[in-house]
Structure formats: C-alpha cells, structure tokens
Subunit: 376 residues, 2 copies
Amino acid sequence: MTQRFEFALSARDGRARTGLIKTPRGDIRTPAFMPVGTAATVKAMMPENVRATGADILLGNTYHLMLRPTAERIDALGGLHTFMNWDRPILTDSGGFQVMSLSGLRKMSEEGVTFKSHIDGSKHELTPERSMEIQRLLGSDIVMCFDECTPFPATEAESLRSMQMSMRWANRSRAAFGDRPGYALFGIQQGSVFKDQRAESAEKLREIGFEGYAVGGLAVGEGQELMFDVLDYAPEMLPDDRPRYLMGVGKPDDIVGAVQRGIDMFDCVLPSRSGRTGQVFTRRGVLNIKNARHQNDPRPLDTECRCPACQHYSRAYLHHVFRSQEIISSMLLTWHNLQYYQDLMSGLRAAIAAGDLATFVADFHATRALGDVEPL
Amino acid sequence: MTQRFEFALSARDGRARTGLIKTPRGDIRTPAFMPVGTAATVKAMMPENVRATGADILLGNTYHLMLRPTAERIDALGGLHTFMNWDRPILTDSGGFQVMSLSGLRKMSEEGVTFKSHIDGSKHELTPERSMEIQRLLGSDIVMCFDECTPFPATEAESLRSMQMSMRWANRSRAAFGDRPGYALFGIQQGSVFKDQRAESAEKLREIGFEGYAVGGLAVGEGQELMFDVLDYAPEMLPDDRPRYLMGVGKPDDIVGAVQRGIDMFDCVLPSRSGRTGQVFTRRGVLNIKNARHQNDPRPLDTECRCPACQHYSRAYLHHVFRSQEIISSMLLTWHNLQYYQDLMSGLRAAIAAGDLATFVADFHATRALGDVEPL
C-alpha cells in the first residue's frame, strides 16, 4: 500500500475520466461517490455496510464534529477513523459552508468567521488555520481549504470579492496545512457563474498547488442547467492530472452530467436523507414508499439491486415499516439508496473504461424515463 | 428437521431445566429469551443480526399487527416470517394484553372484547376465535390462548372471576385452533397471587391439554418478591414435560430467579427498548450511556461481550451518538443489550447442563454487585 497520496487516470471517454486515488488508507475508485457521515456516522448505517455498498471513502463534517464531540476529543480517542470504526479514507469539509447554513449569529472578516453553535449557543471561531488544525486532529485523509461558498445569486462584484478572499484563505490553508505526506489538501475553485472569475480562481489555486481541486459554489440553488453550463468550462481550468471534486452534488442525473464534464468525486446527503424520508432511488426513477400503491406489493424496490432491502423485503413491508415509523425503515431505505448510488458510480466507471459512456448514459436516461413499474 | 412440535428436557438442576423445543422452523434452546418484534421488526435491528445474538425465536404482537398492516395483508404476502425476513420460529401473543394497555374505548364481555385502535380510532373485536384466526393468518408457530391478564392488585373474587373466564376462553381457543401439526397452542395460567386459583387454573388447562403452558398475570406491578413467591409454586402445577413460559419477563435478575424456579421461556421489550433510551445491560450491572462519565472513555461497554458495540466502539463514541440522537446509537445499544440477554440465557443453559447453576447464579449476582468499572 502506498505511503503517498497519488492519483492516476486509467481511461477517458470524452471529457469523462476514470482512475484511482491511492492513499495510505486505501484506494478510491473514480468517479467516486462519498456518503456523508456528518456526526461520525452515516445516519442509520453500520460502517461495514456502507463499505459493502462499494463506498471507498466517507465525508465528515468539520462544523458538526468541532462542536460535538469536538476535534480535541476525537484526537484523544485516536482520531475519527478509530472513533467511528471506518479505517478507509475520510474527506472532511472545512466547516465554512455549514457555519453559514446552520449556525446562529455569525460575523465574517478577512481573518475568518466567528459564530454561535446551533447546539448550545456557545461561541466559536473558524479561520483557515483553525480549520486546518481541526481537520488534522480529526485525522482526515483529504482536507479541504477553508473558503467562503459564494451564495447564489451573487453579483459579479460580490462574487469577485468572495472568490478573492477565498483565494487568500486558500493560501493561508496551504501554509497552515504544512508538509503531511500521505494526506492531501484540496483547493476550492469559486467564481459563481462567471467564467473569467472561475479562470482567475483556478489560476490562483494552480499557483499555490494542491493535491486535488474542488469546484465549489455550485449546487446552491442555481439549477441543473446553469450548473452544467459552468461545468462545461470550470473543471478543465483545473489541473488535468489531479482529482476534481464537485462538492455537495447531487441527484443521480446531476452526477451523470458532471461525470460527462470531467468530475471525479462527489458527495451528497441525498441518498441517506432520502432514506429517512421514504424517497427511494431506483433504476426506473424515484419512488415514495409512503404511497398507498405499495401497500400490497410483494415486489422489491428495484429488481436489479443486490441490497438487503431489495433481496429480502417487499415494497409492502417497506411501506409498512415506514408508515409505522420503525427504525428499520431508515436502515433499509438508506442502505438501498447508497447501494443505488454506488452501483451508478460503478456503472459510470465501467462505461468510461470501456469507452462506451454515451450508451450507458442513454440507457440511464431511458430506463428512468420508463418510470416505476406498473401497480399490480 | 421435525414436522411436529416437540419438547425434550436434557438436564435439570434443582427446579431449573434445560432442553430443546423442536419445530418445523427450527429448534429453540431452553431456557430461551424471545426478543420482541412488535410491528414485524425488532426495533433498530436487522433480523439476521437478532439471529446472530443467539435468538432462536421472536415474539410478534397480534394487537399491533392486526391493526397495521393487518393479518389478512400479511397472509396475502406469504405470512409473517416472509414479510419480516425471519425464517425461524415466531410466537405471537393473543392481543388481549395490549388491547387492555394500549387501545382506546374498550368493552369486555363473555364473548370477547371490542375496542378502538390507538392508531386511527377504528373499531375492532377480539374473541378467542378471532385471535386464533389472526395468529393462523400470521403463520405463528406458537400461538397463545386468548385470555384476560388479571390486573394487579385484584381481590380474590375479581381474580377468580377473571381466571375462570380465561379458562372458558382457553377452551374456546383450543377448539378454534383446531388440528395443526407442527404448530403449538399454549394455555395461560391465571389466578393472580392466589395459590388455590393458580391450582384451579392449571387443572383446567391440563384437562384441555396444550403443547405448552404460560404463567400469566405476573410482571404486572407486583414486584419481584411477590412474583418469585408465586413462581415458587405456580410452574410446577403445570405439566413437567411441556415448556413453561413466563410472559413479559423481564430484568436479568428476574429471568435468573425464574429459571431457578422452573421457567423455560421469556420475552420482554426491556433489552430493545432500553437500547433506544441509552440504558445498557452489562455483566457489571446497568449503565446509562448518557452519563457524562462516558464522554472521554475509550473502553467498551462490557469487556466480555462480543457484540459490535463492544468490539468496535468506545463508550465515548456511544455517548456521542446517543447525545447526538443518531440512529446508530439505537442500533448498537439494542444489539448489545440483546447480545447480553442471549449470553445470559446461554450461560444459564450451560450451567444447568453442568449441574452447576448455583455457582453461575452466585457469580452473576457477585459480578453485578461490583457495579460499573471505575471512571478513568
């Protein structure tokens, strides 16, 4: 096993790429989907079962973990991997995005951001330096630069000011991260929907130099069409030989479109959150298990899925336990959704490797367009 | 595998017994603890993991299942075993106890009981005949007679009236059950804390004849001392060559004392419910994971336990996920508690087989008396 963080592409199909990120904690097959383990758990899942779906890497949330149980406590307990019983790679975000979306009173300055915890109102500070320290204490394998996720919509001037501050923070993040062989620091491109700003941001990040690069500031309400517009140019501004990560994306068709545009890594709460709200991803689209049409249906959610929900339970059972608010409903539906996502990534990787992504994508859309199986 | 319901004792130690119930769906090692799967799920557990703890049989609740998803629906879907993915034996209660404790407006007569659903207020009827029908539709392997669980305290006259009605219902249950090879019907002894009434009830049940017998009307608020007083005489009034089941019991020391008094089967929501409220059973007694003393503790809940919670997670992690109200907290703590209960039963069986129950029980109490490990 490697002692360094490495990335090697093995095939391309158009702008799409497939390859392998090597880390001391294990390999990550790309394009990769990272399940979100916000508070040191992928909700409703045992980590060995997350792994069984095909996940090579998890995402942890710096904001949540710094507040509870705290990074210092996790460090004292041996790091996040040991704490949550996941020995493979972990990527952590910088905390900045969730400070803005979740915390109470907050104040931003060039230095960083001060805010109040949404849990107990206690006061905290995040700066590039503190974010690097927290992510190091957690033991994160892939560390994200501390940045400001520019809100959407933003004027050109607002976006420029925000992006340029994020680039200064990227510089401070790189300096604070230091020399840590085997660990990676990813820079985050900003610039909203403005091509020249995306170019400026990419240029600044390349000057600093990172082990990987994220496309930030998307999936924040701009819609798929505008997101794809940006992805038509933004990823290729970033180094070709480093992994490209589209943060917080997304729905299955978002992922497919982004892979076609050269993205290698994704994370999203959608499969796990949907598992708890009864929304189910299948090859034939999305279904809601709460719907009465499933009440007497002995069929599985998805005949092609190998997850336990599909192998051992009927739609009728899943409907029953969802309506009865039984915990096994969240367990089974989350497992299924994560399996669906990993199967999608696996299919994309194989198609790119075979040079046949267009067929795969056409089939993906055609099968979804069929809609769910007819009611019995 | 047997096509009949059979019971064979293999060893005795004092009044305690160990043996094997054979059913077409698998063997049940006695003394046995049955996890409760109220609404077609042992809450927060996958059935294969319930099995992995050592459970040979589950209990299902007729009252809950008849209301949602309904017995007829479960029957149409292939029965409760298929529905909930548990292919081993299932015992169902008669529904009577939970009608009295959970339902709204209810009216009891010699015929049976009418009541309103606690879920949607719909009106339902349970009689001995309907209870037998529901339990047959569910596909239950061990069916319980429809009875009235005499409340505690009851006057001698109240208890007598209640017990005698239950015995008439036992007669009707036996008639309605019919001839079903491979399935068992258990009679339920009543009589509250009155020895002569327990004797009369046992005599009536023996006249009718059942595949097994429950001691009913205990664990309803009378306390352990009074319960053990009754168990000092009630079980041996029942046939020696049939399994004896103490319904709704109980705490670990209740189980140990009841096994010493000749009980073969138990069920209780305590291990699973406690798993969701943070109460943890260990060899050194009960602990509450919510307590701040666990916040930095890298040690397992119980060093002798082989469950995933103890093998892979610290008290600090379990404290964190409990405080964060993460689903994995219920999953891990329930698994642990069920493992603890099954390990206790396994220890009891081995001790009886070895003719050394007294030593086992002394050690059980002595280890609990130590209390939890010292805080670090």
